[in-house]
Symmetry: C2
């Protein structure tokens, strides 16, 4: 019997034209590939059929959301089928009684946010790409975002998952309850597994009532160190802001070059801080935060209307695309240090930049100790690029020395896999690989990711 | 060469006297056993030596904290060594810069709470047994507590773990950072694994600044249904209280018989509600909650001093021991339903009690949908006991039909293992057992638990 093709299984859902394949070959990292086919199932049954096919013919598949990932998690290696979940994009239920949203993986994060807002609700995880990225991708990568400092990351909101295993079997873990301790926590194991253990087809997400009020503060500094000291002072105060974002001078300049958002271009750093809560508490909390900023030599202003707030967040979310414009290549990292070491790592990053004569733009979730480090380089300039790659290794070493991790929310994917043994012991990696084999004994699901 | 004994490995740490062994043979469930020996290592190295010994001679070991578990997780089956972690009870660090407590597993939950309180901090998970239970046990069982409705359960606070594997190797997962996505989330997999995957020897726990103020409300009802309706009204309001506990008439009577706490014995149900936050917001929030209670026919009073608050919580925490006094045997369950179904499950529980002519006392974390169901019976009365066991099965069926789970915070251990296939599919169980084999190929760690 002739070997079947994916076109034989789901003829109406398969793309094989070169132009189409090209569109599914990259993400927001610098990696790319060309899949042998793209299949776009529209329900769990079809996903299960694709998996069963892949299992039978040992054809690797790569699950994919919107392709906004930063580490190549959804990028196809050679000769694989991309399984795009963009067709499974329905919000199945917004259960306001139980505060749970039930969604398919292809739903855009921002789309769910809009629908929830209409009901006075919100879903905290807010990656910068929220207008484009899918919730399935968010779960696969355990995405974070600015609000993580107060509200946590994606894993803190996933109550249950429907998942297609690599052999086509479908499992359900968790559900609409907020608690549950029957057996091992497979839900949490699947969150952040980067599409290597199963294909998520339905998600039960915890949602919250929208806070009554949000105050947005912009605080500018003449020195990066003063901004870092402010971060420390805020994170050890009794008030937990809902965002505590930092942008260094390079990030500010890049974003203002990209589009005029009105950020102060002479500042060495700025903090974008939000405080939320009830009407009664929020202005008092904002005042306390403002006074911490001022006493650390910051210059505070309050965004006094929705437009001003939106403009600040548009600027913040534009940094990543803006940086692509100032240099032919950027190496985008995502380190985390314990929060008390933010000043130390920022100093180290500046030293490395000076020593290697490279532009390094730093921004991100300072309140979590999570800094997006962008080393600006040029792939076609081997000497410069070599310096950049060596700077990355130095940055990771410094991060780990401070008790940190080399990835806070972007995952490992392809781009970081060569570095994971800097952080994880051989035993840790061995356990993880054995878990991978439990779920995917034939190694057909998203091969070549995470592990070196 | 003669087979070694555990006494040969750590001679000063081993108990083998019958009286001693007896003390390590039970927990707060109705199960018991007698270990062949008890070993009490005082550091990670010694734990690793015990594990290596167990691995070499294929001698099962059962890790144990304070033995306050509700499902037999720490109870030795036949011919096993109990590894008691009570000697590893040091708070290694309270890092106020990073808001992380580093502790050994034998630290009592309440002891950490006291030390944190002195610094204006707190650790949210607060199981009713907090004065006795160990943090290691809390992590192994993924313990909850009243404050879970607002603050989540143990898994939400575990940033990192040092774990001794069943073959004696030591791994570290996570650490002091609040984020991290390098590889699979082994930390979360270990949390709630009931001592079957590894022996936790060090824990990095997230801590929080203490809220400025807490208001405690007691609300009594003439009908259980009115109390349940109040729960629903509160959980769909924008205010998230920090506790929302229910006690039915049977629980109130039992606890008042045990000790006179001053609870109203003519009430059909009561809610114990706490609201916390800043001085500015908390009284406004408490008023809103009180008005929801009143409009659902509740009779609200405010505990106006520390003594009154403490008395209410002492009463709440005394329910479980108090119930032991009203009947020779209690079967203690720990179901969860989606929060909107609390009224339904309470009605079903009452129906089952009436139909089977059994006393069933219900209390617990209504705001989470997590009800501690206590079926009062007598092991020595076979007819009655048979009815009780059959009621349990009926309760689980009703719970699962409502989209719930058969355990919210007590784990599976021995007492619930015969029921897990009511909730989990064969595929789920097969995956879990395969994960168990990854960590513990020889099956020496806490055998006979979780899986039927």
């Amino acid at each position: 019997m002739a070997k079947k093709k994916i076109e034989d299984i789901l003829p109406h859902r398969v793309l094989t034209d070169k132009e189409d394949l090209f569109c599914y070959g990259f993400d927001a990292s610098s990696t790319e590939g060309i899949p042998s086919a793209v299949v776009k199932p529209i329900n769990t049954q079809e996903v299960a059929e694709v998996a069963a096919f892949a299992n039978e013919y040992e054809t690797p598949i790569v699950p994919r959301g919107a392709g906004t990932g930063m580490t190549g998690g959804a990028v196809p290696m050679e000769d694989v089928i991309v399984l795009s979940l963009e067709g499974m994009n329905r919000i199945l239920e917004i259960d306001t009684q139980n505060m749970v949203a039930v969604v398919e993986p292809g739903v855009i994060n921002g789309h769910l946010q809009e629908k929830l807002e209409e009901k006075g609700l919100f879903y905290p995880p807010d990656p910068a790409s929220l207008k484009f990225c899918t919730l399935g991708g968010n779960v696969a990568e355990n995405a974070g975002g600015p609000r993580a400092i107060k509200y946590g990351v994606t894993k803190d909101y996933v109550l249950g998952l429907e998942t297609v295993l690599p052999d086509g079997r479908v499992i359900m873990t968790g559900g609409k309850t907020y608690k549950g301790v029957v057996g091992y926590d497979l839900t949490r194991l699947l969150v952040g597994s980067e599409g290597t253990l199963g294909i998520i087809t339905k998600m039960f997400l915890k949602i919250l009532p929208m806070p009554e009020e949000v105050v947005t503060l912009l605080c500018t500094y003449d020195s990066l160190d003063a901004a870092a000291r402010t971060v420390s002072a805020i994170t050890t105060s009794p008030i937990i802001p809902r965002t505590l974002e930092i942008m260094d001078r390079e990030s500010i300049i890049a974003v203002e070059k990209y589009k005029n958002f009105g950020l102060p271009q002479d500042a060495e750093a700025l903090l974008l801080i939000e405080v939320d809560g009830s009407h009664a508490s929020v202005s008092i909390d904002a005042e306390k935060i403002a006074s911490i900023c001022t006493s650390n030599k910051g210059n505070v202003s309050i965004a006094d209307d929705t437009y001003a707030k939106q403009r600040l967040w548009d600027a913040r979310r534009a940094i990543s695309p803006a940086l692509y414009k100032i240099s032919p290549t950027k190496i985008n990292e995502d380190i985390v240090v314990p929060r008390s070491r933010v000043a130390d790592i920022l100093k180290t990053l500046r030293d490395i930049a000076e020593r290697s004569n490279l532009t390094i733009a730093n921004f991100g979730h300072a309140g979590d100790g999570n800094i997006h480090v962008n080393v600006m380089t040029d792939k076609n300039n081997p000497e410069k690029h070599k310096k950049a790659v060596s700077a990355i290794k130095e940055i990771f070493e410094a991060t780990l020395k401070l008790g940190g991790t080399i990835s806070g929310e972007h995952g490992v994917g392809i781009t970081k896999k060569q570095y994971i043994d800097m952080e994880l012991s051989d035993t840790n990696i061995e356990l993880m690989k054995a878990i991978k084999r439990v779920f995917d004994p034939k190694g057909i699901l998203n091969p070549g990711k995470i592990f070196p």
